[in-house]
Amino acid sequence: MKGFATLLWLEYRRSRVWAAALLGSLLFWFWGLNQVTVTDVGERAGIRVAIVGIAALLGVIVLCFMIGRIRGETRRGQYQILLLTPPSGYLHVLARFLFALGVAIVYYVIIGGLLWWVALQAGIHPDAGSVLQLLLAGPFYGIGAVLVPFLVWTLLLMVFSSAFRLSGPSWIPGIVMVAGTPFLFRWIGDGIISVSYSLPTWRMYAGLTALAERFSPEELEITVNGVPVAQEPLWIMLALSVVMLIIAGRIWQEVEG
């Protein structure tokens, strides 16, 4: 346990500048939201939601970069030191993942808070349930179904490329892995779509959407019962992420330094 806590601390020391920059960028986004001065309330809310969407997307990219900085460690020899430490490869990989996940949770809960603020500014006052969904359920669903697989995939890719150095013949599996990523994601996406909505859906933002619909019934084509959210993408992506984490840990465990 002490070893794992030390690995988390190490990850914090390695990545705290990235984490601080990412969380600090929220101030910039909040400033940006305040700069939207379009008079039409609906249009203003739309632009603000788009800005929050960009912040959410950039968060995924920054977090992937943060978790994937392993090649530099390999070049500088730090990876070799870590390979010889007592904790297993699984724990090394898990510590990196959990730190990034922790930063992501803070970031996306605040993003949820920004959306709440946008709603309030547009005159939409969601009920307590919708506020909780904006701050917790929505961000956690997005993190589980989208961010976690991206983070774990990046981790796996970088552990793989650091492990095999992608030199000589190792370039072949490396290129296959990188070039195959979009096809793999598309294949997984198609698979998920084909099975989605088999299980009961989760209704989210019911209070919020009802209010929004009252506010602008023509523009917002949403139901008063809330947005139907499929469970399947979340469970499938989480299961795939666990498998990829195990593979990354196994590679770490077996690799040469």
Partner: protein, 226 residues
Amino acid sequence: MLAQLREVTKRYVKTEGVRDLTLDIDEGQVMGVLGLNGSGKTTMLKLMAGLLFPTKGEITALGGPPRANRARLVYLGETDALYAWMSPHDGERFMGGLYKDFQPERYHELLDFLDVPRRKTKAMSRGERGRLRLAMALSRDVKLYLLDEPLAGIDLISRERTLKSLVREWRTGATIVLSTHEVAEAEGLFERVVLLKEGRVALDTKAEALREEGKSVVSTFREVLG
């Protein structure tokens, strides 16, 4: 027997790091692994540490595969591999958190003895970082130390102090396998000398036997590898 290499070959993509290497390493021995650049010293130490796996042959260290016993040995690589943000204080946190055999008192003693400045490594010279790495490595209480070029890049006084630290470890019964190009300075420490040439053992002898023949390690090095 603390470690054994049996007909070990390590093949890289185009070259061979070591070839058919067979060595038995006893407890409580200081063994100098010497050779020209590219002779296989680093490959041999990495194999013994479990960082590399042999293409052919078998290695045991501390009674089992080196990687499985990694927590019970020290490997100090030749690469300057400390994080830029790391200070001696962080080094203590890192080592103390990961290694059960870490001795904080010894670490502080070594920091003082090797005159390691208490600042982040990015503000240290190469030699100062080398001394910090050495203090971190020698502050663990293990039976097998694998040290690859621990004297490289550090000043004369620190080299002498490093050698004294190694002597102290050896007196506690530890085995030290030391690779260095500073042959003349380290030769007083060696009990056994292994000269590597193109990945093979060119000479494996006791230092005492060389002294009895009136030879130094340096002159033997020149004679065999020159």
